[in-house]
Amino acid sequence: METIKIAATDRSPEVEFDYSLNHFALRGESYPENVNEFFGPLMEQLEEYFETLSGAEINFVFELIYFNSSTAKILMGLFDMLDEAAERGNKVRVEWRYEEDDDNMEELGEEYGEDLEHAKFILTKVPAV
C-alpha cells in the first residue's frame, strides 16, 4: 500500500502512514470541522490493512498538542484497533508523546494506554515547543 502523508493544518494533524515500514504517526492539533470526514477513510483503510497482517511489527506514534472530544472518540477506536492487531499476534508498539509541561496530555495518554492489554505502550516526554 502506498504511504499516506497529509500535512498538518491549524485544525487537523499531520498524518504519516508508512505501510511499507508499518510506521504510523499522528502529530499536531486535531479539532477538524468534521472528524468523520477527516478520519473515517483513514481509519477504515487502516483497519482493513491490519486485518491482513500477522507476525508484523507495527509502530504507532501519537504526538498531539490538542484534540477535541470528537477526536477523542476516534482515538479510542484506534487504540482498540491497535490492541486487536496485537492480540492477533502482531508486535504492536504504541508511543504517546507529550510536551513536558502538559500534564493533561500525559494524563490522557495514560488513560488510553491503560486499556491496552496486548500492545506495548510507551509514554514519552518531549521538550515543550
Partner: protein, 184 residues
C-alpha cells in the same frame, strides 16, 4: 449618539471582565478565527500554559455545541448542499483571578430535562468519576439525536478546574434559553 452608546456597551463588557464577546451565527470559521485570537491573547498575558490550554479547550467544546445544537437556526440550500447557520452568544473573560468561557443559546423545551439531568450528574462527579464516565461515553454508542461524540460536556467538566454553572430560562414557543459558564 453612536459612540456613547457603544462605549457604554464596551464598559459593561469590561466590568464583567469580558475579553471576547461574540453574538451571532457560529460557524467553524468563526471558531478558527476567535480561537486563534484567544490563544494569542493568553500568550500575551503570559497565562499559565495549563490554564491557556484549558481555556482553549472549553472554548472549542462550547462553540461546537452551539454550531451543532443551537435551536435558533436558519437552513438553506447552497447548490446541492444543505447548509445551516446556528445562533449563539459566546463570552470569554478573566475576573477575580479566574478565566471563564460561557456560551448561551436557545434549545427546544423538550430537551431541557435531559440536558439538566446530565449536567447535574456531571457536576457532582469527582475527577475519577468524570474520567470513568468520559471513557464509558467514548466507548458507548452515540446518544440518539447526537451528532458529536456526546462527550463534550464531560470534557468541559474535566477542563473546568474551578467548576461550571448552568441554567435554563423558558422563553416563547416552547423553547428555553440555555447558558453555561465554565471557570479555570
Amino acid at each position: 449618539m453612536l459612540a456613547p452608546e457603544m462605549y457604554e456597551f464596551r464598559n459593561l463588557l469590561a466590568e464583567k471582565g469580558i475579553l471576547f464577546c461574540y453574538s451571532g451565527y457560529m460557524t467553524e470559521d468563526v471558531l478558527s478565527g476567535i480561537g486563534q485570537a484567544i490563544r494569542m491573547k493568553l500568550e500575551l498575558e503570559n497565562a499559565d500554559k495549563k490554564i491557556a490550554r484549558s481555556v482553549f479547550s472549553l472554548f472549542v467544546e462550547q462553540v461546537q455545541n452551539v454550531i451543532r445544537y443551537s435551536a435558533e437556526k436558519e437552513e438553506f440550500i447552497a447548490g446541492t448542499v444543505q447548509k445551516e447557520l446556528r445562533f449563539g452568544v459566546l463570552t470569554v473573560g478573566h475576573k477575580d483571578g479566574s478565566f471563564f468561557v460561557s456560551c448561551s443559546n436557545l434549545i427546544e423545551g423538550k430537551d431541557v430535562s435531559r440536558l439538566d439531568e446530565s449536567l447535574k450528574h456531571i457536576q457532582q462527579l469527582d475527577n475519577d468519576g468524570l474520567k470513568k464516565l468520559y471513557k464509558e461515553t467514548l466507548r458507548g454508542e452515540t446518544p440518539e439525536g447526537s451528532k458529536g461524540a456526546g462527550v463534550g460536556f464531560i470534557d468541559i467538566a474535566r477542563r473546568a478546574q474551578k467548576g461550571f454553572e448552568f441554567d435554563f430560562m423558558p422563553v416563547k414557543d416552547d423553547r428555553s434559553y440555555f447558558s453555561i459558564k465554565a471557570y479555570v
